[in-house]
């Protein structure tokens, strides 16, 4: 099985009040449970079903993923900058395996 590896892009320095876009990508096969392998046997369903983002411990964004999401799920979403803090990203798959990554964002300038 491919190694699951999350990647996140958050601007390191931001301006107060600005709306930034956060891009996330996680390498994951997302087997929908309908595909067949080379021998014609069904590959069991194995997808990432939940994605959660916390900022300084508060829930800010979440998503429920279904088998209709592409391989290597890409998710981008906005965020309004108000304070310096840490983002905690977490992906959970069908085996309840958790993958997480943290990113720090610094507000460099106040308006």
């Amino acid at each position: 099985m491919n190694k699951v590896k999350p990647r996140v892009k958050v601007p390191k320095k931001t301006v107060f009040g600005e709306i930034i876009e956060i891009k996330t990508l996680i390498r994951h096969p997302m087997h929908s449970g309908r595909m067949k392998d080379a021998k014609g046997e069904k590959i069991p369903r194995q997808i990432i079903n939940t994605f959660n983002v916390k900022f300084n411990g508060r829930d800010v964004f979440g998503m429920t993923l279904e088998p209709s999401i592409s391989t290597n799920p890409y998710i981008a979403f906005p965020f309004k900058v108000k304070e310096t803090g840490v983002f905690d990203f977490e992906w959970i798959d069908d085996n309840r395996q958790k993958y997480s990554i943290s990113k720090t964002m610094i507000v460099s300038k106040k308006k």
């Binding site: 709306i19 929908s32 309908r34 595909m35 067949k36 900022f55 508060r58 829930d59 800010v60 964004f61 979440g62 998503m63 429920t64 993923l65 279904e66 088998p67 209709s68 999401i69 592409s70 391989t71 799920p73 890409y74 998710i75 981008a76 979403f77 906005p78 965020f79 309004k80 108000k82």
Partner: protein, 158 residues
């Protein structure tokens, strides 16, 4: 007397067996079309979510290609005009694909901290179909829109 009773009995049996027969026929007609999700099924799903609340169609920008060459990766983006403040923000956004084996594609959870309501992801589409977006406002309002996408090569195994 005996004759009429016999006749009644016969009638009863024949009606019952006829019903069984009818049930069997409809059963065989309906079963093969079940595995694929139908638009009706999707509309029912939307109805259970909205519980009859009217859906507004404006204020949504659904970004989808008109023609998707590869159904395995179709980029979906959306933006909903909303102030995103504590008493008026978009709570949930659902994305449905009407002809995928399972119409549910994704559900997004938003909070006022995001400033604007938008997101982008990549989805699988099994064939040419409409993609639906349903958004639920914190004040109980629902927004809905749909867009047709032509899929050249279907995303197999969705």
């Amino acid at each position: 007397m005996v004759n009429t009773m016999k006749l009644q009995k016969m009638k009863k049996i024949s009606r019952r067996s006829a019903l069984y027969l009818l049930g069997g026929i409809t059963g065989t007609i309906l079963t093969p079309s079940l595995p694929l999700s139908k638009p009706n099924q999707l509309l029912e799903r939307i109805d259970t979510l909205t519980q009859g609340v009217a859906k507004v169609e404006d204020k949504i920008l659904l970004n989808l290609p008109e023609v998707a060459e590869n159904g395995n990766i179709v980029k979906v983006g959306f933006e909903i005009k909303n102030p995103m403040v504590a008493n008026n923000y978009i709570k949930h956004v659902y994305i449905f694909a009407e002809k995928n084996p399972a119409p549910d594609v994704a559900k997004f959870f938003f909070t006022p901290e995001m400033g604007i309501c938008s997101a982008t992801t990549k989805i699988r589409l099994s064939k040419t179909q409409s993609v639906y977006l349903l958004a639920e406002n914190s004040n109980g309002q629902f927004l809905m829109t749909k867009k047709k996408v032509k899929v050249t090569i279907g995303g197999c195994g969705v």
